[in-house]
Assembly symmetry: C2
Homo-oligomer: 315 residues x 2
C-alpha cells in the first residue's frame, strides 16, 4: 500500500509517498510562486498524475491538507492565502485525475494532530490536541479518535478565544488570543509595551512597526532584555490560559505545541504547563502532558497521509 | 419498547418510564433524605426492580444520569454531593438487578444535552452544547452526534474556564468562570461589589454573607438596583465570553442554557448572544443560536432515557 500525501501551504506544496506505517518513500516540495486560483489546482492535480504513473508505487489513496477550511459536504475549500480559493472545487478536480482511489481533504489543523497521532508525539492517543501558533493560531482537536470539526467544518478556531475582559475593538480582525499570542501578536504586544515604557532604551527600541517581529523579541529575550521578558511572560500567561481551557473542556491526554512560534517558544512549554495548571480542572490537569511537535513542520503532511490510511484500514 | 430513565440529583431521585419517542408513560420522584452510600444505591436498584415487575411495561433498558462523573471503563461513579460515592460501583449494582437488558450511566451534563437533542430545543442537531449554570457550572457537549467525554470522562468542566487575567487564589476551589458566574458566583460577585461601594444604601445592603443569594440579586435587578444591575451585566460578560469560546472551538448549531440560574437569567440570553458575538469566530457566530432549555429541569432525565434509546436503535 502506498499513499500520496499533499500538504498545501500559502507559499508551497509539499508531497510525500508514504507506506501504511507512515514511512516516507519519496518526497518533494514545489513553490507556488505566482500561481493563483486554478493554477494552484493544476499544480496539485499534476503531482497526483505524476505519482499515479510512477512505476515505483501503487498509490491507493490521496490525502490533502489545506491551509484554511475543507467543507466536507460541499467538497470545496477556502484558503485565504491563495487567490481565488474562496470556495474552490478541489475535491472534484482531484477526483477527475485520481479515478477510483480513496481521496480525502482536511484542514491543516486537523491534519497536524492526525500526523502527531500517527507518527509523532501523540502516537497511540485517542484524545489529543495540536495547538498551532504561527502567523495565526488554530487548534486541531481529536476526541475519542474523532476529529472535532463542528457543524460547518470550522471548529478549532481557538485564535478567537476570549481571555481578557473587557472587549476591545482591536480584537476584531484576529480574536483576543491571536491578537496577543500569535507570531504577529507577539510583535503587536511588544509595540504596546514599548509605547508604555518611554524610558526604555534597550535592544527593541530601534525597531518600529512593521519591522519588529517575534524573531526580534525571542532574540532580545536571550539577552535578558526587560521588554522582551515582559512580553514573553505575558504570552506564557495567554498560552497557559488557552491550553488550560482546552484541558478543562476536552480532558485530553496530550497537547502538542507546533507552528512557527514553537519553534523558539518550545523552551517555554514547561512554564506554560505551570501557568495552565493554575487554571485548569484539578483532575484533568494531572492527566495531560504538554509536548512539542517533533515532526519539524511536517505534522500536517503526515496527517494528510493518515486521513487516507485510516480509510484504507477499514476497506 | 419502554425505557426506565433515572435522574439522580444531590437531594432526589427522579424516575420516568418513556417510550421510544420520549413520551413519558409514568413518573415519580423520591427524596434522598438522609440516605448515603449504599442506601442511595438501594433506592436506585429498588426502583429498577419495581418497574421491571410492573405489568404495565416491558422495560428494555435502564439509563441513569448521575450528578458528577461516570467512569465508563471502571463502571464506577463519583458524586460529590452523595456521601460515600467517591468511587461507587453503580454499574455492577444495576447490572445485578437489571439482568440482561441494556443499561447505561452518564453524567448529568452529558444527559442534559442528550435530552435536548431527543425532545428539547436541540432536536435534530448533531452539534449542540448544554451550558448548565446552577450552584456550579458544567457543559454537556455533543459534536457530530458524539458526546465529548475526554480520556477520563471529565470533559466539559467549563466552570474552570480562564476568562480574566491575572490568576487569583480565590479561583482555587471553583475555577475562574464558576467563581464569578455560577449561582453562588453571582452572590460572591455581589459581595465584592458591595465591599467596593461603601456609599450604596440600596436593597442589597441589608444582606450579608452567607445570606445573600442569586435570588436576591435577580429580585433587586427587577427593581433597578444599581449594584444588582452591575453584577448582572458583569455576569452577562462572563456568560458571553464562555459561550463565545464554545462557539469558536466547537462551531455548534445551538447552545442551550439551563440549570437553576436559567431560570431567572433566561431573559438575558439575547444580551449574552450580543456579548458572545463580539468575541467569537465571525462565521461560526452566524451559524449558532442561543436558546433556553424548555424541559423544566427534566433535560437530564430525558437524556438518561435517550442514552438507552440510542443503544436500542442499533440492536
Amino acid at each position: 500500500m502506498a499513499i500520496l500525501a499533499l500538504d498545501l501551504g500559502g507559499t508551497k506544496l509539499a508531497a510525500a509517498v508514504l507506506d501504511d506505517s507512515g514511512t516516507i518513500l519519496a518526497q518533494e516540495v514545489a513553490a507556488l510562486g505566482d500561481r493563483k486560483s486554478t493554477q494552484v489546482g493544476v499544480l496539485v492535480t499534476d503531482l497526483i498524475k505524476k505519482y499515479k504513473h510512477d512505476a515505483r508505487f501503487t498509490i491507493d489513496g490521496v490525502g490533502v491538507s489545506v491551509p484554511g477550511i475543507s467543507y466536507k459536504k460541499e467538497g470545496t475549500v477556502w484558503a485565504p492565502n491563495i487567490e481565488g480559493w474562496e470556495n474552490y472545487p478541489l475535491s472534484n478536480e482531484i477526483r477527475d485525475v485520481a479515478g477510483d482511489i480513496v481521496i480525502d481533504i482536511d484542514n491543516d489543523r486537523a491534519c497536524s494532530i492526525l500526523g502527531e497521532l500517527w507518527v509523532g508525539n501523540a502516537k497511540g492517543c485517542h484524545d489529543a490536541i495540536f495547538l498551532a501558533v504561527g502567523t495565526g493560531i488554530g487548534a486541531g482537536i481529536v476526541s475519542a479518535a474523532n476529529i472535532i470539526r463542528g457543524n460547518n467544518d470550522i471548529a478549532g478556531a481557538i485564535g478567537w478565544m476570549a481571555l481578557q475582559r473587557p472587549y476591545e475593538k482591536k480584537y476584531i480582525p484576529f480574536g483576543c488570543f491571536e491578537y496577543y499570542a500569535s507570531g504577529d501578536g507577539i510583535a503587536r504586544l511588544a509595540l504596546e509595551v514599548l509605547d508604555q515604557e518611554s524610558d526604555y532604551q534597550g535592544l527593541l527600541r530601534e525597531y518600529s512597526s512593521p519591522e519588529i517581529t517575534a524573531h526580534h523579541i525571542f532574540a532580545a529575550y536571550e539577552k535578558n532584555d526587560v521588554v522582551a521578558i515582559r512580553v514573553i511572560q505575558e504570552c506564557i500567561e495567554y498560552w497557559g490560559m488557552a491550553s488550560a481551557n482546552l484541558v478543562s473542556l476536552f480532558n485530553p491526554e496530550k497537547i502538542i505545541f507546533g507552528g512557527g512560534v514553537f519553534g523558539p517558544a518550545t523552551k517555554f512549554i514547561p512554564a506554560i504547563k505551570i501557568e495552565a495548571d493554575k487554571w485548569s480542572q484539578p483532575i484533568s490537569r494531572t492527566k495531560v502532558t504538554f509536548e512539542p511537535s517533533l515532526l519539524s513542520g511536517n505534522a500536517s503532511l503526515y496527517g494528510a497521509g493518515y486521513l487516507v490510511s485510516k480509510i484504507l484500514q477499514y476497506k
